[in-house]
Amino acid sequence: MFEQLNCVNISSSLFLVSMLGIFLNQKNILVMLMSLEMMFLAISFNLIFSSIRLDDIVGQIFSLLILTVAAAESSIGLAILVIYYRIRSTVTVELMNLMKG
């Protein structure tokens, strides 16, 4: 099960799915944040697989740090979301075009 190709495949496909989740989703910003979390997950997976494969602890340390960062980031993101919702009373992505060039 711990063959390298397999591991990389799993993490890469997870990353791709999350990326598509961000792109294809035009409606809900919550789904976007979830896809972002999935992206972090995919990267952490990749790091952990690599650290086991390469027998090196640094990857696992890094994944722990990423976990922390992801937690902080999602909290801040959700806070921004709440503030945004309070002002606009909607979270639809399509309508967020005030910054048009």
């Binding site: 990326m19 961000i22 792109f23 992505v93 967020m96 075009n97 910054m99 048009k100 060039g101």
Partner: protein, 667 residues
């Protein structure tokens, strides 16, 4: 003394020009006239010392430009040609100065006028005394400039401005040719000094050079460009159009510039370069053809002019033609002799015309004059002397030079020197004699002898000019009678050694002695022609003039012919329509609108200032405000840079091609 001849006119010009405000018009008049008079006395001394004693005076002043092989110096060369020209220039100039004291007395810009006259004299003296081509060119250009200022003297008149610009620009065409000639001379001889050029010329007799891939005889090429310069300045056929128009200036200016000095500069150049031109038979041929055509054309046009000054202007043009074709027959000394005589009688004619114009309140049309002989007998008699001298009446000045030129032409025609083309000049010259005498007497009749066409008020105010104006006329009248006789033996006598080394005539071109052996009938020919022209003029004007004119006018062809002549053979119209207007429209439509304001601006500032906003609008459209679009750009650019980094590391050309592709996308 030799330096003072040059410096006095310059001093007079500077002081009466810049200090005219303090000198007042009387002071400026007196001062500048005195300067020229002293210069005239000195040049008479110089004439005695150099011309009569047979010495040459060469003064080296200082170096001007020293650069490698090129060395130009300020130097003065006084030889026989120069002193003759000096005497002509200073004497005519001083007489014109005295004349214009009275003529211009009511003009508000008297000091400026005197300064211009002086500066003109100075530049003319620089032209004739120079010992190298560059200094000569300084005088040449300066004379053109001074003529511009003088023709344009009444600068509020539109016609004067136009004529002055025309004179300057048409002269510039010739000057361009002259400067190319100077460059060629420097290229060939490595020097611009007369002494070097003339002593080296025989070595280059068979030298050919490649000019625009053609093998051309070097001396012919130089001579051709020098002749182009002479054509511009001496108003030969082709570039003659400026001379009649230059009559817009005050009459003393016409007398100074267009009779005695400026137009003779071209002839002077040809005479000065006789040691070079002699070695090129092609240039001699061209001189003969152009000179005789000019003489005939101008004489024919002069017959049909109605403006008093234009008739005299065309006669100047015609006489310059005589001088040039005399040079073409290798008779440079005869040409210079004619130049001297012509200066006297033409200045006399112009100044007398000025006196007439002054008397009838600035009316220049001859058809509105008549019977002035009762009112101004002195001017009439002087004008008659001038006209007779011009027509070559025996024992007046014109006779000694003009008839001699015709005799030489006859000699060259009959001799077996292989100068068949001279017979062409001989025919045209003889016909010009007839026409010259005809228009001179037409002028006399219309102005002085016919019934008056003046209005009654004008007729009451007609008066003889005052002494200050009459005195130069009398001096010139005396000159017109005696100069030819007095100078004959010196200038063109058999075996005269007056010219020394200043004029070179190759022995096989010399036909002076043969001219003495012409049959008596041929010698009588010019006089017969001019006398018959006088008779024809008398006949037409006195007997049944109006009826003859009237019947001739009915003939359509005659009328057309007269109209053609009166309009100067439509030279100006042809030039305007086929040369000047196309060039001007090329300048406006092609070089200004299509290139300067068109293509170059489009590929320069104007085009870029339009293109960059266009691009920036496209770039702005990329930023839609949608987060997903931004994300797309972020990810796609990430992919792109990764690709470029990876592949660009492997193959450098790939990144270049890719960058090019992106730029194409932007455009």
């Amino acid at each position: 003394m030799y330096l003072l001849i040059l410096m006095l006119p310059l001093l007079g010009a500077l002081i009466s020009g810049f200090g005219g405000r303090w000198l007042g018009y009387k002071g400026a008049n007196t001062f500048s006239t005195l300067c020229v008079l002293v210069a005239m006395i000195f040049s008479v001394f110089a004439f005695c010392e150099i011309g009569l004693s047979g010495t040459v005076c060469h003064i080296h002043l200082s170096t001007w430009v020293e650069s490698g092989i090129l060395s130009i110096s300020w130097g003065l060369l006084f030889d026989s040609i120069t002193v003759v020209m000096l005497v002509i220039i200073t004497s005519i100039s001083s007489l014109v100065h005295i004349y214009s004291i009275k003529y211009m007395e009511n003009d508000p810009h008297c000091a400026r006028f005197m300064a211009y006259l002086e500066i003109f004299t100075f530049f003319m003296l620089t032209l004739v005394t120079a010992d190298n081509l560059i200094q000569m060119f300084l005088g040449w250009e300066g004379v053109g400039l001074a003529s511009y200022l003088l023709i344009n003297f009444w600068y509020t008149r539109l016609a004067a401005n136009q004529s002055a610009i025309k004179a300057l620009v048409v002269n510039r065409i010739g000057d361009f040719g002259l400067s190319i000639g100077i460059f060629l001379i420097f290229w060939l001889f490595n020097s611009v000094e007369y002494s070097v050029i003339f002593s080296l010329t025989p070595l280059f007799e068979n030298y050919t050079l490649t000019f625009m891939t053609f093998q051309i005889h070097g001396l012919t090429l130089i001579g051709a460009f020098l002749f182009l310069g002479a054509v511009g300045k001496s108003a030969q056929l082709g570039l003659h159009t400026w001379l009649p128009d230059a009559m817009e200036g005050p009459t003393p200016v016409s007398a100074l510039i267009h009779a005695a000095t400026m137009v003779t500069a071209g002839v002077f150049l040809v005479i000065r370069f006789s040691p070079l031109i002699e070695f090129s038979s092609t240039i001699l041929f061209v001189l003969v053809i152009f000179g005789s055509l000019t003489a005939f054309f101008a004489a024919m046009t002069g017959v049909f002019q109605n403006d008093l000054k234009k008739v005299i202007a065309y006669s100047t043009c015609s006489q310059l033609g005589y001088m040039i074709f005399s040079c073409g027959m290798s008779c440079y000394n005869v040409s210079l002799f004619h130049l001297t005589n012509h200066a006297f009688f033409k200045a006399l004619l112009f100044l007398s015309a000025g006196s007439v114009i002054h008397a009838v309140s600035n009316e220049q049309d001859m058809r509105r004059m008549g019977s002035l002989v009762k009112f101004m007998p002195l001017t009439y008699s002087l004008m008659l002397i001038g006209s007779l001298a011009l027509a070559g009446f025996p024992f007046l000045t014109g006779f000694y030079s003009k008839d001699f030129i015709l005799e030489l032409a006859q000699t060259s025609t009959y001799s077996n020197l292989n100068m068949f083309y001279v017979s062409f000049a001989c025919w045209l010259g003889s016909m010009s004699v007839f026409l010259t005498s005809f228009y001179s007497f037409r002028l006399i009749y219309l102005t002085f002898l016919n019934n008056s066409n003046l209005t009654k008020t004008l007729l009451h105010s007609v008066h003889e000019s005052s002494l200050v104006m009459s005195l130069p006329l009398i001096v010139l009248g005396v000159g017109s009678i005696f100069v030819g006789y007095l100078a004959k033996d010196l200038f063109v006598g058999l075996g005269t050694n007056f010219w020394g080394s200043s004029i070179l005539i190759l022995p096989n071109h010399n036909n002076f002695i043969e001219a003495e052996r012409l049959s008596i009938l041929i010698k009588w020919l010019p006089f017969t022609l001019s006398a018959s022209a006088v008779l024809v003029a008398t006949f037409l004007n006195w007997t049944f003039s109006s009826s003859v004119y009237f019947t001739l006018k009915l003939r359509k062809l005659v009328f057309f012919f007269a109209f053609l002549m009166n309009k100067k053979w439509y030279w100006d119209v042809l030039y305007n329509r086929f040369l000047i207007f196309p060039v001007l429209s090329f300048g406006y439509f092609i070089s200004f609108k299509a290139l300067d304001r068109g293509f170059i601006e489009l590929s320069g500032p104007y085009g870029f200032s339009k293109l960059i906003p266009l691009w920036s609008k496209l770039l702005i459209k990329l930023q839609t405000g949608q987060i997903t679009h931004y994300l797309f750009f972020i990810v796609s650019n990430l992919c792109f840079f990764l690709t470029v980094l990876v592949y660009g590391y492997i193959d450098p050309n790939f990144s270049l091609a890719l960058t090019f592709f992106i730029l194409l996308f932007f455009i």
